[in-house]
């Protein structure tokens, strides 16, 4: 049985092995970028169906950021929106025959979690400076410094394992049922897998929001007052 923890290598460019999730990831990124640029050239005041659908996505992301972070969504729209759209499309790319979602591989999820980890530090530093961000580790008391530090690492790790485990287990179970029961049997499981994929993309985006909001609201000098982020 093929292990779900290793990615099959498709071909080599020089000494660099190119694995399957890398190809799929670049395919998804190319499709999203080309689609967005093609749509941008045909933007109108009275939206077409595609434009209306995309505006719906942007407005939903904006509303979610406003709900969760309680700030103006402007600076975070690009980051959170890109995360959500990419993970959503990646999870649903299993609809294309022969494609394994890149999020079902450990490396892609590790990269995404690492992006969130770095972005939290970046947004925190931008909000309160290096000193302000480092001071958040000492809240509510300096005794918490090791705990806060470890929490930063473990929540990144759990972000990685959550996405990986959910998507990979869906793919794995479909493979098992397919090999045991035949062609039509896994269809309901595939429907469940699509639901799981959408929910996991949403959760990943919401958790990224919560982490960023925590770093920003704690390290910003003036807003020590009323609003605490939900955790």
């Amino acid at each position: 049985m093929i292990s779900p923890l290793v990615s099959p290598v498709l071909f080599h460019i020089g000494p660099v092995p190119i694995s399957e999730p890398v190809v799929v990831t670049w395919g998804i990124m190319a499709a999203l970028t080309v689609g967005a640029m093609a749509l941008r050239r045909r933007l109108t005041l009275v939206p077409s169906a595609t434009q209306a659908a995309c505006e719906l996505v942007v407005e939903a992301v904006d509303a979610q950021i406003r709900d969760t972070m309680r700030v103006d969504p402007g600076p975070y729209r690009a980051f959170i929106g890109t995360l959500f759209v990419f993970i959503f499309v990646a999870n649903w790319s299993s609809l294309v025959p022969g494609v394994t979602p890149p999020t079902a591989r450990l490396e892609t999820d590790a990269a995404l979690a690492l992006i969130v980890f770095v972005a939290v530090i970046g947004f925190g530093v931008r909000a309160g400076g290096v000193k302000g961000y480092l001071a958040t580790f000492a809240t509510p008391s300096p005794l918490m410094i090791p705990l806060n530090f470890v929490e930063n690492l473990t929540r990144t790790f759990s972000l990685l394992i959550r996405l990986f485990g959910n998507v990979m287990s869906g793919v794995f179970v479909i493979g098992l049922v397919l090999s045991l029961a035949g062609l039509v049997a896994p269809i309901p499981l595939m429907a469940l897998d699509l639901l799981t994929g959408a929910v996991q993309a949403y959760i990943f985006a919401v958790l990224a929001m919560v982490f960023v909001a925590g770093a920003v609201s704690e390290s910003a000098p003036e807003s020590q007052s009323e609003e605490r982020t939900p955790s």
């Binding site: 292990s3 779900p4 923890l5 759990s158 394992i161 959550r162 990986f164 485990g165 959910n166 287990s169 794995f172 799981t196 929910v199 996991q200 949403y202 959760i203 919401v206």
Partner: protein, 81 residues
Amino acid sequence: MNWLAAVSIASAALAVAFGAIGPALGEGRAVAAAMDAIARQPEAANTISRTLFVGLAMIETMAIYCLVIALLLLFANPLLH
């Protein structure tokens, strides 16, 4: 097959089996509470079911952690190679 492989397979099965109990109970409680809330306040059904889905996915993650441990034991066991 040496005894280490046998123990690994058995503990992978145990990890999934016992790891599923807690999340199952938790999900049952969450769904029951959501049903109760929707029955009391049907107009809030949208918000409640959206929050319920997210919560269920969070709870389910605990079982998924156990599944990952089981797969690690089966496919990437450092003691077997």
